[in-house]
Symmetry: C2
Subunit: 456 residues, 2 copies
């Protein structure tokens, strides 16, 4: 069996944390404020983790790297002209909805749901959902997303695809009132069984939203989550309609309601959070709930702009998600980061709002914290999981290099990602998902979609 | 000399106009409303123009294509699995500002100008500007932009670069009060002289903005434009500050002021138009002034959201521009189209606002009309100029293909463009600008920027 030891040498490294051996920056081109954020050096990977981060010119790190080399049996990857950084965490998506990409655009939300999405979804079984997941995971890996947090049904099928494709994932079987509840109760243990066999996978329950799940069903699912020892992932305050319905039904905000029901006793990820109040933000912070910003979906469906700058200043953990490809219409975290910054600046009428590094933190360390892997994911640090991506910096849209951090958020493209490692294993090389026949996959997806449409 | 005759066969063609030989749609996959917008067929290029558009199954078109083939001496390009559409028109940019890409982010506008942009710009001469233009034109061509409308100084230098690189351009020497006026008066005839030698180039005057140009200078420049027979390109109502200053100084809106001074007697392109009133919109329509939407720059600098849906319904011609790479921070028209639609939907709180096809029209036919080439550019039609782009549709983010038009606006990437023709000549093939050593160019730009920074 081939060794799992890898050295990436001579790369520009953006650790998203205090670098090991942090001396004065020795690199040219770094600018005020930016200079301490990245450095040139090498990393060694072993056993799925980052064994060494050796900054060029740091004697101790270089010494340990030399010792690693002496033991031999490693693969060396030339990082010159490349950026090595943590893989991105897409903290809210419905990956199988790639099947509905560009199916329902430029229409009202109710028409979107009733005439396009629901009739299509009603024809989806585990097999169709697995094809959609496979396509979406390929798209995410190619663009540098190494972890995704999913919400759908037939999550056990998605879990198997994630396991086989080498990505890291949090699979969250979802429920809402009606027959989906029984499906959920079958899907949850089945998904957990798949995840138990793969250390890249974990599971959470996913109540759809406070206005689509009864208190009784919420409490029942919370009980199951406690029994299995898993967390939660839900939508909160996506639309004004939701605010109104919950207010009428329970006399409080969606966030207050979910707290009252006890959901936040579980580690919770809350997608959207568009219409949260100041009081809601304090609840989110108090219970350690992560707010996931989905700016492209929110703009496209015209839900509003989440108050991310206010949530940040109140201490809420923030992450970024693409939402599903039916309301975005891609799973591109680079586009999403850029839009997050632009929308925050526009909303605040302040070009200094949500600067580039804060946005990068949302997409890396914020996502890691959301899934309870703070310090283990979202950073390039010794001992952390080796979920890393390498970008080709030699692109015209990244030239000249006044500020690397700004370049990543405001100019980089998902197609600049040329290598991806998950748990130390290469999964993308030369812009291709290793072992995947992409044209064949796309043909299967088209055939699947054709069958679904015929059945509607 | 090699023949300039080219046949692109078997492509999916999006003509952005009524297709020749418009029968019933024979293509699979097309959806209600979308079905008539594209078809499968071939085009023949000759003499810089589109000689034949032959829809598959249209006997008359296929007959003429067969006759074209019989004459021989053409190059055939396989269009299967590819989309052929009009090249994009970037109707407002400052292409040389690529030199300042990621130089001045996440800061207030006045700091942006006074502490970053102006000190840097003060060190730029024709040589530096030419390097910036070369980089920006490479980026635009690679992403499928075949025409750009520029505003800067040393436009004669930019014109030479555009001439040599094969792109189509409208070069607009700019002025504002002070010493720039004399520079402008030298630059204008020099730019016109370069453009006179290249049928892809034309020239306009570019008053910087109604608050930075005195009435006297405006009238003087208008006189020069009339003497040379050229149009105008200006910024209008980009910020609230501008609205206030013009109101205090002239007692009217910036649009009213420019009309009063007589600028709109020239064919005029007005960038931004963020804070235009209903009355302003009527003036723009009445005088045939094009409003160029720059949504990413407007969001990033927090200028506001231009009322594009209202302008459209009032009959104003709309186009899209990236603005300069110092406030965007790229020259990617696909990103810009997507943001234009998202911002319009967000602003109107209406997911049906500014649907995908309207956005594509802004980036093609709207831009063509803006520069007075209505029907000649921005369309795939017999007799039109052969400015065409070919996209690879076999990408995961474009799969499945429920709606091709939506896919282009909501999912396509600039890197999906693999071939570009300007005036019938291939300028991009296999994702490369033909004849350009891109790594060498990027090294030159870095060296140029290094010299400029040392001199500040």
């Amino acid at each position: 069996m081939r060794s799992d030891k890898i050295i990436v040498s001579g790369a520009t490294i953006l650790p998203m944390t205090e670098p090991e051996c942090s001396g004065s920056a020795s690199d040219g081109g770094a600018k005020d404020g930016d200079a301490q954020k990245y450095f040139t050096g090498s990393v060694a990977l072993e056993g799925g983790r980052i064994a060494i981060v050796a900054r060029d010119g740091c004697a101790e790190g270089e010494q340990r790297l030399a010792e690693f080399r002496v033991k031999g049996d490693f693969r060396e990857i030339d990082g010159r002209g490349r950026l090595l950084m943590p893989g991105l965490v897409n903290t809210h998506t419905h990956v199988a909805m790639t099947l509905m990409r560009n199916l329902a655009d430029d229409i009202e939300l109710m028409e979107w749901l009733h005439e396009r999405v629901w009739p299509f979804e009603s024809r989806l079984g585990a097999e169709e959902i697995a094809w959609g997941a496979k396509l979406g995971i390929a798209e995410m890996l190619l663009g540098g997303t190494t972890t995704f947090v999913d919400m759908y049904w037939h999550e056990a099928a998605i879990a198997r695809v994630a396991r086989d494709m080498g990505i890291r994932a949090v699979l969250c079987p979802s429920f809402l009132d009606g027959e989906r509840m029984a499906e959920f109760e079958r899907d949850l243990p089945e998904t957990i069984a798949v995840a138990d066999g793969c250390d890249r996978l974990s599971v959470r329950i996913a109540p759809h939203a406070p206005y689509t799940c009864s208190e009784e069903n919420l409490r029942r699912a919370i009980g199951l989550a406690k029994k299995y020892g898993v967390g939660a992932h839900t939508h909160i305050s996506e639309t004004l309609d939701e605010q109104r319905i919950v207010r009428e039904r329970y006399g409080c905000t969606p966030t207050e309601h979910l707290r009252n029901v006890g959901l936040f006793e579980l580690p919770t990820i809350a997608a959207h959070c568009v219409h949260v109040t100041g009081g809601d933000m304090d609840i989110l912070r108090e219970f350690g709930v992560t707010a996931v910003h989905n700016p492209q979906s929110n703009m496209k469906i015209a839900s509003g702009a989440a108050p991310v700058a206010a949530m940040l200043s109140r201490g809420v953990n923030l992450a970024i998600g693409t939402d599903g490809a039916c309301s975005n219409n891609d799973l591109d975290m680079w586009d999403e980061m850029r839009t997050a910054s632009f929308l925050a600046k526009h909303t605040a009428a302040d070009p200094a709002s949500m600067p580039a590094y804060e946005i990068l933190k949302m997409a890396t360390v914020g996502g890691a914290r959301a899934i309870g892997r703070d310090g283990e994911l979202g950073v390039v640090a010794e001992g952390a999981l080796a979920d890393l991506i390498m970008l080709d910096l030699e692109k015209p849209h990244l030239c000249p290099r006044h500020d690397l951090v700004a370049a990543l958020v405001y100019s980089a493209k998902s197609t600049d990602v040329e290598r991806v490692f998950v748990a130390g294993r290469p999964v993308v090389e030369n812009d291709r998902v290793i072992g995947l026949d992409l044209p064949e996959l796309m043909a299967e997806v088209e055939a699947t979609v054709g069958r679904v449409k015929q059945a509607i």
